[in-house]
Symmetry: C2
């Protein structure tokens, strides 16, 4: 019988494992010996944080990132055909959403292999929960275009969609460009459009505030190098 693919969450930054990962998940993860991971060093560090005696040297880590070639994925799956389970881990938070992990899941489904998602921290979900914006209809748009003109156009498009479809719009930016993005949102969006800025989710420095754009103008936070999610709703 084939093994199962487990989608294993990790912490986001320096938060304590107990606060963000259920104990039942941890008990199961420490039994795994095969892993497909976005970054081997981070994955090993996480497993050691979870269990000081975890047998890192008796475990196998396959690295899945933008350099991975399609034919390598078939190789990563071999342990499953031998009846072993595999854990998939991203660099931060839950895997399979904003990381390459979905490739493994897609492949698993094509071979009839079972995939089980575990509960863990997600900045997308947690920012939405704490935003007060529409969670009954929302879209996560990933990164917006970097170039000024295209980005303003994209922001106006998302703002309009949030109004016409009553769909709140989430997006992210490379952390060192967060402050520039906030400036663009303030300039591109209407004064009454609500903007939620959620930074450092699950960390001691967590910051989640929702206000109309006109109030953000006078209260711009410094988000430089802080992982953040942005949500707008007109």
């Amino acid at each position: 019988m084939n093994g199962t693919v487990y989608m294993v969450p990790v912490t986001m930054g320096e938060s304590s494992v107990e606060n963000v990962i259920p104990s039942g998940v941890i008990s199961n993860v420490v039994r795994l010996r095969y892993f497909i991971v976005e970054n081997t060093r981070t994955a090993r560090r996480f497993l050691r944080a979870v269990d000081k005696t975890f047998p890192i040297d008796d475990s196998v880590f396959f690295e899945l990132n933008k350099h991975t070639k399609p034919d390598e994925i078939e190789h990563f799956m071999q342990p499953l055909y031998n009846g072993n389970n595999i854990g998939v881990m991203s660099e931060a938070g839950v895997p399979g959403v904003a990381d390459p992990g979905a490739l493994i899941v897609e492949y698993a489904h094509s071979k009839g292999i079972k995939v089980v998602p575990y509960v863990g921290p997600s900045s997308i979900l947690m920012s939405l929960m704490a935003s007060g914006l529409n969670g009954q209809n929302f879209a996560f748009n990933g990164y917006l275009p970097v170039k000024g003109g295209e980005r303003v156009k994209s922001l106006k498009h998302l703002e309009k969609r949030s109004l016409t479809e009553n769909q709140s719009q989430l997006f992210i930016e490379t952390p060192y460009r967060n402050n520039a993005l906030v400036d663009d949102i303030i300039n591109a969006c209407m004064p009454e459009t609500r903007l939620c800025i959620a930074a450092d989710i699950s960390l001691d420095t967590e910051y989640i505030v929702t206000m109309p754009v006109r109030l953000w103008k006078k209260n711009k936070p410094d988000l430089n190098k802080r992982p953040a999610i942005f949500i707008i709703q007109a």
Copy 2:
């Protein structure tokens, strides 16, 4: 100083608390004495499952649902102004997303009250993680129209958007109408469009499968009365 609003997850169905809620979250929740909940009976049952000695009778439960009037919300917030923390709980999974909890959060932000999201199970997030479909760009659309013609139109619209914007499209249905929805998807969507059906997330009967529509035609699962999430991507 004002209290804090904590977004408290609960189990989805009969899963064990240890598997879906971090121990650090549980330790904090059992210290709360004020709750704003979608259903008081479910909330009390959850607190007893978490801690047999939880002082239910010394705690205050405000019920927030579609019958709640706007002026009641101001009343619910009073404990916060007195420095007490409040936990918000929905009927299943994390609050503030597909439930009325967002109203409380919106109100809290308007008063400058801090909101903290806790980690817990979300069928939206977990189905996406285990679907293999695009998690870098996705939309949750809630319920589709019930009437046949409108529903087919809506499905075709979402399928087209998934293609033109490369945005996977999630939606739900009242569980007793799931089988009819699957028939509509199979009829409305193109044979190669991928459909993920995720049912009973986090339960022993969990079922998550992604296949092209043409393969679902011959392998229709019975989803009657099982909570399910549907994801399409053309």
